[in-house]
Amino acid sequence: MRDKADVWQGTLALMVLKTLETMGPLHGYGIARRIEQTSGNVLSLNYGTLYPALLKLEQEGAIASEWGASENNRKAKFYKLTRAGRKQLAKEAANWEQTTAILARFMESREEPA
């Protein structure tokens, strides 16, 4: 249970960071919708799990938050990427690509008889 949650949490953090990099400052709801849209609505996100992840990233200094007004003039808390966050994103993205590449090769090699 725990391992799975950690992986998920890690992936979610990466998705949040990438979303903020692409979209600029965004509120929690916006981030959640963007992640769903990007995944082509394949990923069904439980929005509630997003907030602890945001809190953790903020505590670690990867993102910063600020209260502001949404596009339809609702009060909302906006998150933006910090410098440290950008660095973290770059590093974790690279890590992720490497991991997926390895995994991909693994999957391929399985088809060939050894």
Binding site: H27, G28, Y29, G30, R33, N46, Y47, G48, T49, Y51, P52, L55, K56, Q59, E60, G61, A62, S70, N72, R74, K75, A76, K77, A84, Q88
Partner: protein, 881 residues
């Protein structure tokens, strides 16, 4: 790095938890609004839009909770919350809180304060190098097992022994020193050259005595105590090499002793002079005036040393007739210094410990009653989801807060109490116990207090927890279990109250026995009338009074002048005042009796013609001296009854003669009177045979004056001093006082009074706490049995039988407590038999009074709840359920 930053933020979050919670709630609310707006735009109905948004968010409360935990540190938050909650609970119940805290503080205060004294005297090592290897060396005889040495004997012992690395001597000395305000008496000590090297003490300034500096041919030399250096020489280093004039003799100052140095047997000593043996007494083998102190060789025990010294003493006995019957005694030096107060301190420490025990038991019962009263609260909280651990930690936190507050209060109070007790010790008694100086907070004390605090914390935290675990409260709303667990408590509480009462009995009996001892001690027959008797010490300057006639003349002059003072009835001179010590003895040999060289040792007092009459001693036979009986007349003597009984059983001693061991013609005296025993020694010591020689036939430079007056004794002292200074300003008159005061402050009375008062105080507190505990148990029992009592009364029980019901319960507990306590106290009294005087450990009177006092107090205490029980309205009691 990032992790660290996160933790710091989380710890910081502890302080603004509520603000963070509001922030999270606002953010989630905003999230919902955005989502609902979107859904409405997508064409859902308002209700549907809201429902879908909430569903998608997936549990607002759960999200808030996760955020909350992320924002802070749950364990610490719980602790803080527990502490806040506990503080609130304790504030809400000030009666319970104050009682528990004060009881702990009281127990702590008593035991820590007493422990400070125990630590300073019994635990802290003496300020010498490896003090455990130091021994005191005495000559001994059947009458005086630890007695002074003579200088010639010391020289032989030093030469012949094989067990000591070094053997040294010291002797008390009084010196007069000249100060800007005239001559002043002060205490000094004469020591042999290696005394300080043997103790392992090095001077802070100057040098130690060199080997041979204590001999007659060497220049007289002195070392100063640190305080004398500060007081008399302003602490200046140029004191070395200067000359100090002590009783008319010039001494060169060679060194200053360290500030921490003390030597209880001769304190308060300012001048430590090299021995310089030259007086008649120093050189005579039968004159015993000094004490030995030695360092054992490695591997030698006190027992071996004693065997060696006894062998040497036997050899000397054969060689010198005057050594007949003189053995040797060797004791650890620490025994000599603290041996006398050890039993008292241990008794006091046990008393304080018992008080602490009662306080602890009382607090434990309070906690149990309280946790009993909170069963339902616990059950509700546990039903609402509080885990077992959380409930237990809640109790533990409360206990820890109580223990911490009580301990800190107790420690502070103990420091004050210590200061107070030190102030209550008379200055001269304190001077004899130099190891008590600098008493105060130290690591031993803090460790001791810490241990008590830890025990208290454990008791406070664990008692209610165990209780709940045993009663199974945690985990169910067991309304039905109420009656049965109430019984559990009642049984446990009863046991505790029996322990309390028994302990109180032990303390009360201890206090009773000590008070009775003190009373008997002060009632002891002294053979004199102590009130309205003023006393003064006088020292003549040796250089000016070289002839006996001169001393006799000045003595007569002083007494005549004093007798003329208004209010003075009579006055007398004695070489030593009564109720001081047995000693300053003479050896006598009776004329016309067979003699085997035995030593008939008797107290010798040289007194003026009017002295015994001034004391209002009782003359049993014969006559007192006349003032005319001086050295030109035949020698006469008055003996006490103890001497008459011992040496003249069934005979009339009047007219009998005795002299010195050689019966030299000059020493022959005729007995002219028998006086009733006067207590020369301490109150609890035996009466020795005593001889009273006429002062005019046995003069001394140093003597005491006793004055019978009709005024207050102390108001007379300045007049007496003025008269003496008028006669000769070179005479030192000092230590003026009254006989009643001297008896009251004599060491044995002092020790008995101190222990009686302190143990009495502990006992009074113990009685109060014990009775309070009994009241608590009975009151609780009544509150638990209200319904039962209601039923009984509804069924026709009378008020009287309800009283009986409750008082019987109290009666059983009290009886059990008293019975166990009496048994215990007989044992305890046996342990302190060294402190008892004239009473046995099973003194029926004391035991009876204690049982009575406790029994009556207990019945009174349980009468209040019994009355409440009898006042129960059956209808209301039954409706309560």
């Amino acid at each position: 790095m990032n992790g660290l930053r996160a933790w710091i933020l989380r710890l910081a979050g502890l302080w603004k938890g509520e603000e963070r919670d509001r922030d999270v709630a606002a953010e989630l609310e905003a999230h919902l609004q955005l989502h609902i707006d979107d859904n409405l735009r997508a064409g859902m109905s308002a209700e549907e839009a809201r429902r879908e948004a909430i569903l998608k968010l997936g549990g607002i409360e759960a999200t808030k909770q996760v955020c909350r935990e992320r924002n802070g540190v749950p364990v610490i938050e719980n602790l803080l919350r527990d502490a806040r909650f506990a503080a609130r609970q304790l504030r809400k119940n000030p009666g319970f809180t104050c009682t528990a805290v004060l009881m702990l503080a009281l127990g702590m205060c008593a035991s820590v304060a007493i422990f400070a004294f125990v630590d300073a005297s019994l635990i802290k090592p003496l300020p010498y190098r490896s003090p455990a290897r130091l021994v005191a060396v005495y000559e001994s005889n059947p009458m005086c097992p630890e007695c002074n040495l003579s200088y010639p004997d010391y020289l032989d012992w030093k030469k012949l022994n094989t067990v000591f690395r070094s053997l040294e001597i010291y002797g008390n000395a009084g010196y007069s020193v000249s100060t800007p305000s005239g001559l002043e008496p002060t205490h000094g000590t004469r020591v042999s050259d290696g005394f300080f090297r043997t103790l392992g003490v090095t001077p802070v300034l100057g040098r130690d005595f060199y080997s041979g500096e204590d001999l007659k041919q060497a220049q007289r030399a002195v070392m100063l105590s640190y305080s004398a250096w500060q007081k008399r020489y302003g602490g200046k280093p140029d004191v070395l090499g200067r000359t100090a004039v002590l009783s008319g003799d010039a001494y060169i100052v060679v060194g200053v002793l360290p500030a921490g140095f003390h030597f209880a047997p001769t304190e308060p000593s300012e001048f430590w002079t090299a021995f310089h043996a030259e007086s008649e007494c120093d050189l005579r083998r039968s004159c015993h005036g000094i004490y030995g102190v030695a360092r054992l060789k490695d591997g030698v025990t006190v027992g071996t040393a004693l065997a060696d010294m006894s062998g040497i003493a036997k050899q000397l006995e054969k060689e010198y007739p005057e050594n007949k019957g003189q053995g040797a005694a060797v004791l650890p030096l620490s025994e000599v210094i603290i041996g006398r107060i050890r039993p008292m301190l241990l008794v006091l420490l046990s008393g304080a410990g018992l008080l602490l025990l009662i306080a602890g038991v009382n607090i434990a019962s309070l906690l149990l009653v309280r946790s009993e009263g909170r069963r339902r609260e616990m059950a509700v909280r546990s039903a609402l989801g509080a885990g077992r651990g959380r409930l237990i930690s809640q109790f533990a936190t409360e206990g820890l807060i109580l223990a911490a507050v009580g301990s800190v209060l107790g420690l502070v109070a103990a420091i004050w109490t210590m200061k107070l007790l030190i102030h209550l010790i008379a200055a001269d008694a304190l001077a004899r116990m130099p190891y008590l100086q600098g008493l105060g907070l130290n690591t031993h004390l803090v460790a001791f207090a810490g241990a008590i605090a830890l025990l208290a914390a454990l008791l406070f935290a664990v008692a209610p927890t165990l209780h709940h675990a045993a009663a199974g409260t945690i985990g169910g709303l067991g309304e039905g279990s109420r009656g049965s667990s109430g019984n559990t408590w009642r049984r446990l509480g009863s046991k505790l109250v029996v322990v309390e009462l028994a302990t109180a009995v032990v303390l009360l009996v201890g206090a009773g026995l000590l008070s009775k001892s003190l009373y008997l001690l002060l009632q002891v027959r002294n053979g004199l009338q102590p009130d309205h008797l003023a006393t003064l010490s006088v020292a003549l300057p040796k250089a000016r009074y070289t002839k006996d006639e001169q001393i006799v003349a000045v003595g007569r002059q002083i007494l005549t002048r004093i007798a003329n003072v208004p209010g003075v009835k009579s006055a007398g001179i004695s070489s030593q005042l009564p109720v001081t010590y047995n000693g300053n003895t003479d050896w006598i040999r009776f004329v016309g009796r067979p003699f085997n060289g035995e030593h008939n040792e008797v107290n010798e007092r040289d007194v003026s013609a009017g002295y015994l009459a001034t004391l209002e001693a009782k003359l049993l036979r014969g006559r007192y001296f006349t003032d005319a009986e001086d050295l030109s007349k035949p020698k006469v003597v008055i003996v006490n009854q103890a001497l008459a009984r011992k040496y003249f059983p069934g005979q009339d001693p009047i007219g009998k003669q005795f002299g010195d061991l050689a019966l030299s013609p000059k020493s022959i005296k005729q007995i002219v009177g028998v006086v009733d025993d006067i207590r020369e020694g301490s109150l609890d010591a035996e009466i020795w045979p005593a001889v009273y020689y006429p002062f005019n036939q046995a003069t001394d430079y140093y003597f005491q004056i006793a004055v019978r007056t009709s005024q207050a004794e102390l108001s007379l002292i300045p007049t007496l001093k003025a008269i003496i200074h008028e006669i000769d300003p070179g005479i030192v008159a000092f230590a003026g006082g009254s006989m009643t005061e001297q008896i009251r402050n004599s060491q044995s009375a002092y020790m008995h009074r101190t222990s009686a008062w302190l143990v009495g105080g502990f006992a009074a507190l113990a009685l109060a706490l014990g009775v309070f505990g009994l009241y608590g148990v009975i009151a609780y029992s009544v509150s638990q049995r209200t319904r039962e009592i209601g039923v009984r009364m509804a069924l026709g029980a009378e008020r009287r039988s309800v009283y009986e019901l409750i008082l019987r319960e109290a009666g059983w507990l009290t009886a059990a407590g008293i019975a166990i306590g009496l048994l215990g106290s007989i044992g305890a009294a046996r342990l302190m038999s060294g402190l008892l005087f004239g009473v046995t450990s099973w003194d029926v009177e004391t035991l009876g009074v204690v049982a009575g006092v406790l029994g009556v107090s207990a019945i009174l205490a349980s009468f209040i709840p019994a009355r409440r029980a009898a006042g129960v309205n059956p209808v209301e009691a039954l409706r309560m359920e």
